[in-house]
């Protein structure tokens, strides 16, 4: 019982990081109708920037700011420099370019920093707090939880409560009509990419201290889980990303805890297959909206 509670709690913290990353995929999808396979590579590059800044200043928070900025700048550059020049009639060319970018970025990071994992120190204690004899979340898990929930709330407010968010949503849904209403659609697309890059970098940065450390592939598994979540929840559903992220996080935590780490990828795959069999559009997909 104690073990179950502990696994559920850590699964929740881990799941929120997956949810954040999935949310970043949803944001790009909504801005550009593209699954950004390069998201993990750019996020990892941004975490390297954070690592350098933290190393130079000794401050985790300066590193966090650097990750957000680098993630946003890198993603905006990818959109302006690459994606804007790719034919957009079908999604395939964009995805192929993104996969190519993964290879280039990961090789470059590998050449620059080598294969070893660089340990990143968390700003809070990582040992679980014991409440009434039951080990629960660590202070760092709590920090992750608070940050993730705050970011989710902030994004919900930005998209649904501000005129910038209205323009972002309109540009994605109906670019031509939006332009006729004076919305600067190309700028909104770049902004969507930048926002998505910052959120992905944040998710990767939150994850790395709980893992082996930082190397070029640190965010790969995070991407696989988040991609599963985005497909589960429906690529255009922020709610789906949130619920799905927590579900996958808890599932991975439980399976790893009870059956071993080797079984976790199988469990994720089984969940993905099951959902796609029952609801091919994703659990939270709003089919009539998509086809209208």
């Amino acid at each position: 019982m104690d073990r179950l509670v502990f696994l559920l709690a850590t699964g929740l913290a881990r799941g929120l990081v997956v949810a954040l990353f999935a949310l970043s995929l949803v944001i790009v999808w909504r801005a550009a109708r593209l699954v950004n396979f390069a998201q993990a590579a750019t996020a990892t590059a941004a975490v390297f920037a954070a690592f350098a800044v933290t190393g130079a200043t000794g401050s985790f928070w300066a590193g966090l700011a650097a990750a957000l900025l680098a993630g946003a700048a890198l993603s905006a550059a990818v959109e302006r420099g690459l994606m804007r020049r790719v034919p957009q009639a079908t999604p395939l060319p964009g995805m192929i370019v993104a996969i190519g970018l993964v290879m280039v970025l990961q090789s470059a990071l590998g050449i620059a920093f080598g294969p070893r994992h660089r340990p990143m120190v968390a700003p809070f204690d990582e040992r679980p707090l014991v409440v009434g004899g039951v080990p629960l979340l660590s202070p760092y898990d709590l920090f992750v939880l608070v940050v993730a929930l705050a970011v989710v709330g902030l994004l919900a407010w930005l998209f649904n409560g501000t005129s910038l968010g209205l323009q972002l949503r309109a540009s994605a849904a109906a670019p031509e009509v939006s332009r006729l209403l004076g919305v600067r659609v190309p700028r909104m697309v770049t902004l969507g990419w930048a926002l998505s890059g910052a959120v992905a970098a944040l998710a990767a940065l939150l994850l790395v201290p709980t893992e082996l450390g930082l190397n070029a592939h640190s965010a790969d598994l995070l991407f696989v889980h988040a991609f599963t979540v985005a497909v589960l929840g429906g690529l255009d559903s922020p709610t789906g990303a949130l619920v799905g992220g927590v579900a996958v996080g808890v599932l991975v935590s439980l399976v790893t805890g009870y059956l071993g780490a080797g079984v976790a990828p199988l469990a994720v795959l089984a969940l993905l297959t099951l959902v796609l069999l029952v609801r091919p559009g994703g659990i939270f997909a709003t089919t009539e909206v998509r086809t209208a």
Binding site: S163, A173, A174, V177, L180, L181, G182, V289, A292
Partner: protein, 239 residues
Amino acid sequence: MTPALAVDGLTVGYAGAPVLDDLRLEVAPGEVVALLGANGAGKTTLLRAASGLTPPRAGRVLLDGADLTALSVEDRARRGLAQVPEGRSVVTELTVDENLHLGALWCHPGRAARRAAVARTYDLFEPLARRRTSLGHQLSGGERQMLALGRALLARPRVLLLDEPSLGLAPRVVAQLMGVLRTTARETGLTVLLAEQNVTSALSIADRGVVLSLGAVVADAPAAELAGDPTLRHAYLGF
């Protein structure tokens, strides 16, 4: 007087022969012009080239004498050139209220001003007021067309380009839309270029009719004259 809208030497083509060939058209301030012609005559192409959605091969587009040709679609819109495109131009993923706010964004700075402007639109189109929280895809065809028109008017445009607003609508709804257009033009001096298949409705509110055929202007006359000329009606308008 400087025309509110002028296209000059406009040539537009997709792949082969040009769809519009060296076209010239002027619309005076406050004038309502019906743009008529058979299917495929080039009405939509002309409106899209004017708003910038379809890049022309040659020619210029002028708004109050200022050359807009080099401007993007969004900059032309901000200068006062509004277009309600063909068919369902409502953003279906947004609510009625959000669609209207989108139309009011850059012309009514500030939240309060926007809300007031949107409220006036609800007064003008009462059926919309009852559906403010409905999503675009939940609206009927008539409600969508009202929303598209109301949204375009919110930006207080100088020139409004409308592409077949009557498409698929009941006669009563068409009459209502045309009425709003006529009144707005008279009261605010709005200039309207109205592409229509529904010749009778369009000519009933227009000052002038322009008939396109194979990408060229083949008739340009006062609306009453055009409606009463049996040869013209027969040759180009099919009734």
